[in-house]
């Protein structure tokens, strides 16, 4: 999308209520430009009252196993080590990692418990999450159509398996605008891991696609420069940077007067925003002011900057600062082998902080306005990969059914929606496609997924694509 005019002015020009352009003098035009908030949203939005104002998407990259975490299938015990019946498999393709082996069923490797008043089933590797079960809304019947990581994650986050579409966060910030003029609308935090991950986290996962690039997610890096190029060079003290930007602003003002190009007014504003970010972002990432009780709530790992746990605290801080869409990524859920030890390790990283985040948002009165989403790009197969009854066994990718959960932001707490068959192989009732999840999330944010469109290459694109998808009203409180 070419943007010869910046978006604000575009709206202003396009929708300035009845203002005749021809009659407007440049000075007025420019005045209107600088007066207009830099965060205008497209006209007509929200489409209806929003239940949620923020989203925290706890993305678990790699495909966490629903069979160990949430989808309790006691019946599977009887089938242990038996080849999956064709009637169940229905010709489902597997990846070439397991296509040559026998498809022998492997029951869940953990003990389950019914939790809270709602009786949601949660596996033993998530003891803390069990404590907040009544705040969660489980979707057991998620399904996708992509079986490999990158296309499936791209689908989950952008609605299409081929890179290049705007991510859900970009759509949300496009539609919602910002509440904070010192921070971007959409921020991304990635857990710092020691282990090289097999699944890189591509920046198109949080890209703006054909939406203007100001809507792209900004990655908060875990380094001296939390945002790329944020830090001034050594030897350029703050007061000098201020002076230099004043001089730059003055010279740009002169150029604006000379050329009449309103883009210069925007540029002046963007340099000022850059200056403000240089203060607001480090202030944001400095967690020394957090109470001791916070670290206790999110667990010991939260003291370690860059950990998933620390990022969970950060997510709550970002909600407090009005950031619209916060996306965490925790890698390494791709447990093809040694599932018992490997999956436990990822549960340990995430269990207490995730539960802590829910409790923390709740105790601060933020959960109602914040939609929390937990999930990965697909689930895992009930068939064992490797020798099914050994400690070596893992599970292959499985897009036909998997579990995600949401919390806060207008969803029904304590609900378990949808179900899989006795094998957790297919959805048995109330299927929820990735697009349905998108439609529902947008709905909670006050947006109609059919009307939130953007024209590109002559077509009106939307997050949910061209196939019919539905808002899952049953999930909404």
């Amino acid at each position: 999308m070419n943007e010869p005019l910046n978006i604000t002015r575009r709206y202003f020009l396009g929708r300035g209520a009845g203002v005749s352009l021809g009659a407007m003098a440049l000075s007025q035009l420019l005045q209107r430009v600088s007066a207009a908030p830099s965060t205008a949203v497209p006209a007509g939005l929200p489409h209806f009252a929003a239940k949620a104002r923020h989203v925290i998407f706890l993305t678990q990259s790699g495909g966490p196993s629903q069979l160990e975490l949430y989808d309790y299938k006691p019946q599977l015990e009887k089938w242990a080590g038996i080849e999956i019946p064709d009637s169940v498999r229905q010709g489902q393709r597997v990846t070439t990692m397991t296509s040559s082996q026998k498809q022998l069923l492997m029951p869940g490797r953990t003990k389950f418990e019914r939790c809270g008043r709602s009786g949601a089933t949660i596996g033993e590797w998530l003891p803390h999450l069990r404590g907040v079960a009544d705040d969660l809304c489980f979707i057991k019947s998620m399904h996708s159509d992509q079986i490999n990581h990158a296309p499936a994650m791209t689908k989950m986050l952008t609605g299409h398996q081929i890179p290049g579409r705007p991510s859900m966060g970009a759509w949300a910030s496009y539609g919602l605008g910002s509440e904070n003029k010192n921070l971007p609308e959409y921020l991304v935090l990635i857990s710092k891991m020691q282990r090289p991950s097999d699944q890189p986290l591509y920046d198109h996962y949080w890209g703006s696609g054909f939406l203007p690039s100001r809507f792209q997610g900004v990655k908060l890096r875990n380094s001296r420069d939390p945002v790329l190029y944020l830090r001034d060079p050594d030897g350029l003290p703050r007061e000098l940077r201020r002076g230099m930007l004043d001089g730059l602003g003055e010279l740009n003002q002169m150029r604006l007067a000379e050329t009449g190009d309103p883009e210069i007014a925007t540029r002046i504003r963007q340099y000022e925003m850059a200056y403000r970010m240089q203060t607001s972002v480090p202030e944001l990432t400095d967690m020394s002011g957090e109470a001791e009780s916070t670290f206790e709530l999110y667990g010991p790992d939260s003291r370690r900057a860059g950990s998933y746990a620390a990022n969970c605290i950060q997510a709550r801080r970002l909600v407090e600062r009005g950031v619209r869409f916060i996306q965490l990524f925790h890698p390494d859920w791709d447990h093809h082998s040694r599932l018992p030890s490997w999956c436990v390790a990822r549960c340990r990283d995430t269990d207490q902080p995730t539960a802590g985040l829910i409790r923390d948002l709740k105790q601060r009165g933020l959960l109602d306005q914040t939609l929390v989403i937990w999930g990965g790009e697909f689930g895992r197969s009930p068939v064992g990969q490797g020798k099914w009854d050994s400690i070596e066994a893992g599970r292959d990718h499985h897009p036909r059914c998997f579990t995600m959960w949401m919390a806060g932001g207008g969803v029904k707490a304590g609900l378990t929606y949808g179900a899989t068959d006795d094998f957790s192989f297919s959805v048995a009732e109330n299927p929820v496609h990735v697009h349905d999840l998108h439609a529902t999330a947008l709905h909670l944010l006050g947006m109609d997924h059919e009307r939130l469109t953007y024209r590109h290459q002559g077509l009106d694109f939307r997050l949910t694509g061209v196939e019919p998808s539905r808002v899952v009203k049953e999930l909404i409180a």
Partner: protein, 1030 residues
């Protein structure tokens, strides 16, 4: 409705419809200009070319269908009789069930649009073929008084219609800056600028254009356009994102543009260089164009699915780059708007479906051409020069270290009494286990486990460290009688498995913990292991992966075992900081927690932390020497190495030499024969099927090679090969290719195409702002023999191109998007030109042509964090750092960070966005390249024979090609004075600012002054004028 849609309507209503309809209300609306966009936008999704979707059997794209009774019995369009036309009834009805477009489409016709449709039906409902499918005709340019240039005559005639006047010619400095950037991607040098300003001849600009078109930088500039379109990158993309060596193809592109290879030949060679008679290696190299797509080697992926993806990608690319059609829509179904049936996609795909490839990525992406680039040896010479420069410096530093070493050795010899130990046991202030094991530290700092023995367990030892620094840790695992069989653990087997360790620092009273990076691990014994994910090797404890780790299983379980860990860099601890050592036992097997252990720390560098056993200083102590000359030479060498490891002046030179050597190794490898991915046919052609819904393994009916009938016919005699396809694309009767190409070239000079959707000339694309001009250019291009330089020369010498970009308030209000070209466009330059421009203005630019990719500065760690350390980015050093951005290594999963708003190089792109964000401001302010350019610009000004009072103006001039006005100069002076005052009082700050990655301060220059000029230079490089095409 969207922003984009709305502005288009504004423009259409404001400029086209109001001018055409309002002024000529009695005329029939033009089908193509006025009616088709309305139908296409609002009706075709259900009543358009996708026959399967045609609701009620009605298609409004076909005259016959629209004018015969539909399934309902009604007739949509009765020419001349709006009242009898169901279409009119249905767009005007108040009945929500009857209304078209229906409410759930979220589309609504405006009253102007309804009037257009009615008027069109009233005046006979004439259909026309879509403009882009009708071959262009070279209409004689309109006669306009005082204008001779064809382009100007078209533009001025239109302006006259709109009662607008063109803008005056731009100032000369603006012109040369504009045309230099447009044709070479670089600003003029000051010499070029001065020569042009001095040249009063009427054809001064023509001469500049001719010079620029001859410059080698022309090919580089054009290549940047072409590489975006070709989705060229130096890696595969996707999960593995392996490096490929296709860069010789990039140099082929540069050379082709510089040699002005005609565009039809350029097309032929890239489609079918391998099929040409007596194909040269370069012609086969050219076919890499169609192999530049991403390749996916993800484990578990079916290679056939990937192969099909590649074929699809090629068709889409042909659609965008040559035909300007969104063929990607036809991958899954018939086009909703354009007359392209589903089968068209696969008929085209059939041309690319028999490449001798198998869908693999990485090193298996055949077919390859073995090719040795003639342009690589220059890079080797350059890299060798850097090594030669650094080698003596390293040797000198080593020699210089001898003296301090002797002093150090003497001091150490005195200090280390016999019994000296380099290892200091960590005394715990806190000792904990996660799962309940009881841990007790004994007098000798040994920790003994007792009580519960859980399956998995983490131990954490925290304690103060007396040393001023820590370089490594030692873990001793000890047997005990209380353990199973007197072994190393209380687990069933008496064996231990340590899966991971962590080293952290905690400040007393603070909530924060920081991780300390451990890079080395060695042990005196380890079990044999089979694979990377087996227990055994000590290195497994460093990767956070519980599936590997350290065990001595199978060896004598009663033997004590030792492991030594090296920190990435010495850790300096404050008095109130404590060290934490964590031992994790999280193995799949479980029940193997260490039973007894001791943790120690050391401050020794070198061998001490890289091997198990007595450290060199302990050996020295044990030797009890009174006379150091009697020191064993081997031990002396070890001690010298330890000293060097810690001796900063030496380490700086050593690291610099190591980097230069790595760079040399890399370019030497690149100078060998390389595998370049190219096209080659397999012996047995594959059968091509329509893919149902575009899914790779859902085969529909079989199709033969063929082209979209709606575009142009296939010549009966032509072979159905890729060569035939290239010839068809560049045939005189192909209505699209020439238009699409000249439109892209126009956009290069004018910021936007004459068709503002360069990727879509179909019904949903925009109509050209100047259709006759576009056609004139397209035909002229073909008549010139597809001569790219010719057509650029024509464009760049028009008065339209030379106009000033200053917009009067009235003009800005009248034509905010500059569709009429009553002024030159004003737009931000692409990020790659900004970088290249900064390098050129500052004198840093290395103008070499071609060769292996280089790595410009980008912030530390951006590759590492995406790939969790699998790829490391080491910026190029020496002259290689200052190469043009075209040569920057392009990793598909993370494009060069300094290139904002650039194509992503994942799929073909011919239009990149142009936005204005704070992140861009931060890049231009703080990117190391721009800082180096600022320093170099400042130093250049100080070294040159320029009067002090002219220096600021000269910095300004080198960047924006003009001297500042008095008002501007005053601001520069003020900022300079402010900076100078600061740096005079704080000279340390000046030193810091000037300490760039490669920049060496010229000792003759005054540091405070240089720093102050650097600040002004950075300011200048950030000026709106500096980053804008004016």
């Amino acid at each position: 409705m969207t922003a984009c849609l709305f502005i288009r309507r504004t423009a259409l209503v404001g400029l086209c419809v109001s001018a055409s309809l309002a002024a000529r209300a009695a005329d029939a609306p033009s089908f193509n200009r006025d009616v088709l966009p309305i139908l296409s936008d609002n009706c075709f999704a259900c009543h358009g070319p996708d026959a399967k979707q045609a609701k009620g059997g009605l298609r409004l794209d076909l005259r016959d269908s629209a004018m015969k009774p539909a399934k309902s019995g009604e007739t949509a369009i009765v020419p001349g009789k709006p009242a009898a036309s169901a279409l009119v009834k249905r767009i005007e009805t108040k009945d929500a069930d009857q209304l078209m477009p229906p409410a759930d489409s979220h589309k609504q016709l405006t009253s102007v649009q309804k009037d257009v449709l009615k008027q069109w039906i009233t005046t006979g409902a004439k259909y026309e073929a879509h403009w882009a499918f009708v071959p262009p005709v070279k209409a004689p340019p309109p006669a306009v008084a005082g204008a001779t240039h064809p382009i100007d005559r078209f533009i001025l005639a239109r302006l006259a219609q709109e009662k607008l006047k063109p803008s005056p010619e731009a100032a000369k400095h603006t012109l040369i800056r504009r045309v230099s950037y447009d044709l070479t991607g670089l600003p003029p040098t000051t010499a070029d600028l001065d020569a042009f300003l001095a040249d009063r001849s009427p054809d001064a600009l023509e001469k500049v254009v001719a010079r620029l078109l001859k410059s080698d930088h022309f090919g580089e500039r054009m290549a940047m356009w072409w590489l975006d379109a070709a989705r060229y990158a130096d890696t595969d993309g996707y999960q593995a994102d392996a490096t490929r060596s296709n860069w010789p193809w990039r140099d082929w592109v540069v050379a082709a543009f510089n040699a002005n290879m005609k565009f039809d030949q350029f097309t032929r060679e890239q489609f079918a260089g391998d099929l040409l008679p007596n194909a040269t290696p370069e012609q086969r190299l050219a076919t890499c164009f169609h192999r530049n797509h991403m390749t996916n080697g993800e484990g578990g992926r079916d290679p056939e699915e990937s192969r099909v993806d590649y074929v699809i990608d090629r068709v889409n690319t042909v659609g965008t780059v040559w035909l300007g059609l969104t063929l990607n829509c036809v991958q899954c179904h018939a086009h909703k708007y354009d007359p392209l049936p589903h089968a068209d996609f696969y008929r085209l795909a059939a041309f690319f479906n028999s490449i001798d490839e198998d869908g693999k990525a990485g090193g298996g992406a055949k077919p390859y051409l073995s090719y040795q680039s003639p342009l690589a040896s220059r890079s080797v010479t350059e890299a060798q020069a850097l090594v030669d420069e650094r080698k003596p410096r390293e040797a000198e530093a080593r020699k210089a270290a001898e003296t301090p070493f002797a002093d150090w050795l003497a001091a150490q010899a005195k200090a280390v009494a016999p019994g000296f130990s380099a290892w200091h046991p960590l005394r715990a202030s806190e000792l904990e286990s996660i799962e309940g094991t009881r841990l007790v530290q004994e007098a000798d700092a040994i920790v003994q486990a007792s009580g519960p023995n859980p399956n998995h367990e983490d131990y954490r030892v925290a304690g103060p460290v007396k040393l001023t620094r820590v370089t490594g840790l030692k873990l001793e695992v000890l047997p005990h009688a209380s353990h199973t069989g007197g072994g190393l653990s209380r687990g069933k087997s008496g064996e231990f498995i340590l899966t991971d360790i962590k080293v952290q620092v905690r400040r007393r009273g603070s909530s924060q913990i920081r991780d300390v990076l451990v890079t080395g691990a060695v042990a005196d014994a380890a079990a044999d292991r089979k694979g990377a994910r087996e227990y055994g090797d000590i290195k497994g404890v460093l990767d956070d992966d519980p599936r590997n780790g350290w065990t001595t299983k199978g060896l004598d379980p009663k033997q004590p075992r030792t492991a030594v860990f090296a920190l990435a860099e010495p850790l300096l601890l404050d008095a109130d900081e404590e060290l934490i050592f964590e031992l994790r036992h999280r193995s799949t097997l479980g029940d193997a927690n260490i039973g007894r252990f001791r943790v120690s720390v050391t401050d020794q560098a070198g061998d001490a932390i890289r091997s198990v056993g007595p450290v060199p200083l302990e050996q020295l102590a044990a030797a009890k020497l009174t006379d150091l000359t009697a020191l064993d030479t081997k031990l002396r060498a070890k001690l010298f190495n330890q000293f060097l490891a810690d001796h900063a002046p030496y380490q700086v030179e050593k690291a610099a030499l190591d980097r230069a050597n790595r760079q040399l190794g890399e370019v030497k490898a690149a100078a060998q024969k390389l595998n370049v991915m190219v096209l080659a046919e397999r012996k047995e052609p594959r059968t091509t099927h329509i893919l149902l819904r575009g899914v790779w393994d859902k085969h529909g009916e079989k199709v033969e090679r063929g082209v979209p009938a709606a575009v142009a016919p296939w010549p009966a005699a032509a072979d159905k090969t890729r060569l035939g396809l290239a010839n068809w694309l560049t045939a005189r009767d192909n209505p699209l290719t020439a238009r699409v190409v000249v439109n892209n070239l126009w956009a290069m000079l004018f910021g936007n195409g004459l068709v503002r959707t360069p990727e879509d000339f179909g019904l949903q694309g925009e109509r050209p702002t100047h259709p006759e001009l576009l056609d004139w250019l397209a035909v002229d291009f073909m008549e010139s023999g597809w001569d790219v330089k010719h057509i650029l020369q024509v464009m760049a010498t028009s008065a339209t191109y030379r106009q000033s970009s200053v917009a009067s308030p009235a003009l800005l209000a009248r034509d905010p998007e500059n569709r009429l070209l009553a002024r030159a466009p004003r737009f931000r330059l692409p990020a790659w030109m900004l970088r290249d421009g900064a390098l050129r203005s500052s004198g840093l630019m290395n103008a070499a042509l071609g060769g292996p990719p280089v790595r410009p500065h980008q912030p530390e760690g951006v590759w590492e964090e995406i790939f969790m350390g699998r790829f490391k980015y080491e910026p190029s050093e020496g002259a290689a750092q200052y190469r043009r951005s075209l040569y920057a290594f392009w990793r598909r999963s993370i494009a060069p960070t300094f290139l904002f708003d650039s194509a992503q190089r994942r799929v073909c792109e011919v239009r990149t966005p142009r936005t204005n964000t704070p992140l861009q401001a931060l890049t231009l302010l703080n990117d190391e390249t721009f800082l180096e350019a600022s320093r170099a610009l400042a130093a250049g000004i100080l070294r040159a024979a320029i009067k002090p009072e002219d220096r600021l103006a000269e910095i300004y001039r080198r960047v924006v090609a003009r001297r500042p006005s008095a008002k501007e100069a005053a601001v520069l002076q003020r900022e300079f004075d402010r900076a100078l005052a600061l740096y005079r009082t704080k000279p340390d700050e000046a030193t810091k600012l000037l300490a760039g990655a490669q920049f060496r301060i010229d000792s003759k220059l005054n540091a405070a002054e240089l720093a102050a000029y650097t600040v002004v230079a950075s300011l200048a490089l950030n000026l709106d004028e500096a980053i804008t095409h004016e």
